[in-house]
């Protein structure tokens, strides 16, 4: 469980990148953080995994204050997958790249081998294991970066813009992976601009703007609220827009649907049309 109490963070001592953030994320929750550029999403995530230390307030992970732990110690609990996988890839083979984190956290050689085999199977990296990660495509490199964090088996996983520049197939792959992780009771936090992705898959959405949390709630409420989304420079998901347009037509006047994901939307619409 992550608890943030009144955290404030400033890079330059003048402007607050995080301004009085209070937040609680339970175990096994799936949370999305959305917001415009510079809203403080990544700063918040970096505070949670200890890369940045907030000047005010405190952060508890499973009831323990993280200020006394080093980043490496926190890394055992919290996995952080960065936006740009090229910021971390440096080894000669994919296998070594994945092993790097495991070696840092001082796992035994047998444990390292076991985890490596597991993650390679899970992320379908078998055919790449002995080639240089620099030869891979962007999407594949992202998968290697993800594997190198997932093999540490963290309780909490933070993904920074995982859908950026990914095609539909990779996105679906990611969703499947997240579903599997959630079944195991892992907490997942996704930082994203992709409102469609959030509306489709993420149950709880936190909206940030100018270093503050301006909304925090289930997607059924957040994705319908034009006022909040506009404040963080995000447009309504397409299905929420469709609801609005349909409502403006005479035949669909009483159509009310809070969902913005395809599955639920379809059922709501079907129910409505049957009633008609």
């Amino acid at each position: 469980m992550i608890e943030c109490y009144n955290i404030k963070y400033t890079y330059d001592g003048i402007n607050y990148a995080l301004d009085d953030i209070c937040l609680k994320i339970d175990n096994a929750e799936f949370v999305g953080i959305i917001g415009e550029n510079g809203a403080g999403k990544t700063t918040l995530a970096k505070c949670i995994n200890g890369l940045l230390r907030p000047q005010y307030g405190k952060i508890l992970i499973d009831g323990e204050d993280i200020s006394k732990f080093s980043v490496a110690q926190i890394a055992k609990k919290i996995g952080f997958v960065f936006q740009n996988s090229d910021h971390q890839i440096f080894e000669q083979t994919v296998e070594d790249e994945i092993k790097f984190g495991l070696k840092n956290l001082k796992f035994s050689p047998e444990e390292i081998e076991e985890r490596l085999e597991n993650i390679i199977k899970k992320l379908d990296l078998e055919k790449y294991r002995n080639i240089s990660p620099f030869e891979l495509s962007g999407g594949e490199r992202k998968r290697v970066a993800l594997a190198s964090i997932l093999c540490l088996d963290p309780e909490i996983l933070i993904l920074d813009e995982p859908t950026l520049g990914q095609d539909m197939k990779q996105k679906e792959y990611l969703v499947k992976l997240i579903e599997n992780l959630r079944k195991k009771g892992k907490t997942i936090i996704i930082i994203t601009h992709d409102i469609e992705f959030a509306a489709e898959y993420i149950p709880r959405i936190i909206v940030m703007a100018k270093g503050k949390i301006i909304a925090d709630g289930p997607r059924e409420i957040i994705t319908q609220n034009n006022f909040i989304l506009e404040k963080s420079s995000v447009i309504l998901p397409q299905l929420a827009q469709l609801t609005k347009i349909l409502k403006s037509y005479n035949i669909f006047k009483s159509f009310n649907c809070n969902f913005a994901d395809v599955h639920n939307y379809y059922y709501e619409l079907k129910k409505y049309l049957k009633k008609k």
Partner: protein, 257 residues
């Protein structure tokens, strides 16, 4: 690691100020820096080097950048300490002091140049000195990317630390080894970016015309001519005295040790 090197780089960063030195032509300032460098290399005694160093100080004051001179001296502290110790042990204290003064003169003259010259003016000066345009352009481009590189290093360090890399722990050799995961991504990213920049430059028609024209041309004023003239005289007199005539004994006085 970045703190000391970053603050030293800071001493070579242009600050916009309205002073006579800032207004001088970059070529004059470059000529000044080169003259001081040559002078500090041809003299090897304490008194002449001391005079050269003292002559630089008022220029920093006129350029309203005196605190940067102090910072330069501060930044060179460890290097100077090493020079002083090694030279005193193996040669003599006089040599040690003159070597340190020489280093101060070399660094601070170029520091003055970069503190008071905008990069665009510098590259324009190079072009007007008949350097190839691509050379001047590459130079200004590379300086422009230094802060970007710093930011990127920070991001790479963050990424590796999140994978359990502990940069502060271990002995010296271990710590040096720990920089491999940071240096390799940095090199790879820089090469990738260089290729990208080259492509985007070509896409925007870079190098389409062999002969370029410029909106702003640098012009030398009477001040520039005067300073260049004085510098040339000082330089030629110094060379004459050092190599053909010999310096008066007062100037070559050495410390007893």
């Amino acid at each position: 690691m970045s703190y000391t090197s970053a603050s030293l780089l800071d001493l070579f960063k242009f600050r916009r100020k309205n002073t006579p030195i800032h207004k001088l032509d970059p070529r004059t300032k470059l000529y000044y820096a080169i003259t001081i460098s040559i002078l500090s290399l041809i003299f090897s005694d304490i008194i002449p080097l001391g005079i050269i160093f003292l002559s630089i100080i008022p220029l920093f004051i006129i350029a309203k950048s005196f605190k940067f001179l102090l910072k330069t001296l501060q930044g060179l502290f460890f290097l100077v300490l090493i020079i002083l110790i090694i030279d005193t042990l193996f040669i003599s204290l006089s040599i040690a002091i003159s070597m340190s003064l020489r280093l101060f003169c070399l660094i601070s003259s170029f520091s003055l140049f970069f503190l008071t010259t905008h990069l665009d003016d510098f590259s324009q000066a190079l072009i007007q000195m008949h350097f190839p345009y691509s050379f001047a352009f590459a130079l200004s481009l590379s300086v422009r990317f230094i802060p970007t590189l710093g930011l990127e290093t920070k991001m790479i360090m963050d990424a590796q630390m999140s994978r359990g890399l502990e940069l502060q722990k271990g002995n010296l050799i271990k710590r040096i080894k720990k920089f491999i995961p940071i240096i390799i991504p940095m090199i790879v990213l820089s090469i990738r970016r260089a290729l990208l920049i080259a492509e985007s430059l070509e896409a925007r028609g870079f190098g389409i015309e062999k002969k370029r024209t410029y909106l702003y041309q640098l012009k030398l004023t009477w001040k520039d001519y005067l300073i260049t003239f004085i510098l040339t005289i000082i330089l030629s007199l110094s060379i004459y005295f050092v190599y053909f005539y010999g310096l008066p004994p007062i100037l070559t006085t050495k410390l007893p040790i």
